[in-house]
């Protein structure tokens, strides 16, 4: 499973992407965010405020209850500010 970070989350976590293999009980977006927060202090601080984190699974916006599977491309980023 590949995880991408963008903008402020990328800077806070200190990397643009990482390859991860979470345990089988990580089944949803919500599970994954909790699991990622355990990876480092930076992860924990960057992902602590759920209103500041958006998640896309395979390049589509995802809800906390949506499934994540091995092979997925997961992206975590702050609320967008384009246009």
């Amino acid at each position: 499973m590949r995880v991408l970070y963008f903008a402020l989350l990328r800077e806070r976590i200190g990397m643009a992407e990482e390859e991860i293999s979470p345990p089988a009980e990580v089944r949803t977006v919500a599970d994954l965010v909790i699991w990622l927060r355990g990876r480092s202090e930076q992860h924990d601080a960057a992902l602590a405020n759920p209103t500041m984190v958006r998640v896309a699974v395979n390049q589509d916006y995802a809800q906390p209850s949506d499934a994540v599977r091995p092979g997925d491309e997961i992206a975590l980023f702050p609320p967008v500010t384009g246009g």
Binding site: L4, F6, A7, L8, A56, Q59, D60, Y61, E73, A75, F77, P78, P79, V80, T81, G82, G83
Partner: protein, 151 residues
């Protein structure tokens, strides 16, 4: 129907002429051009903006929303260009052109696409002003503007 995500500048007049040349069913064309403004809380330094984006998702999501606009309004044509990379105040960021037989469709579809770009397109603005750097925060007013299309 065209979507382009690019570093280069664009020419609104040229895109407009290309869309309407030889067409006689289009009665109304609306263009929206978004420009970099001076930063509200600027200090004295040189101002610069960097637009970061999520390339794969941007193109894919833009094509989806353009298809949605076509489904909602009778559009003859539609173009979205969004730039990324380094930009200075006065530079063009985004272009949306909508063409229809009817003016209301062109205006509404244009406003819909711009509202969507503001709230859903995966772009992030970093403002730099001399030594200061600051990620622009999302505005609740943009979410409100976008929510009027949820019907």
């Amino acid at each position: 129907m065209t979507v382009r995500v690019q570093r280069e500048d664009f020419d609104t007049g040229k895109e407009l002429d290309r869309m309407t040349a030889g067409q006689t069913q289009i009665g109304a064309v609306v263009t929206f051009t978004g420009l970099v403004r001076d930063f509200a809380d600027a200090k004295d330094g040189v101002q610069r903006m960097t637009l970061e984006h999520y390339p794969g998702m941007t193109q894919r999501q833009l094509e989806t929303i353009v298809a949605e606009a076509r489904h909602r309004w009778p559009l003859d044509d539609c173009l979205v260009i969004h730039r990324y990379g380094e930009l200075m105040p006065g530079d063009r960021i985004v272009l949306v052109i909508t063409a229809s037989a009817h003016r209301q469709a062109a205006f509404e579809a244009g406003a819909f696409l711009v509202d969507w770009l503001k709230t859903k397109a995966p772009f992030w603005k970093l403002e730099e002003d001399g030594g200061q750097r600051r990620w622009v925060e999302a505005k609740a007013s943009d979410d409100e503007a976008a929510s009027r299309w949820n019907r």
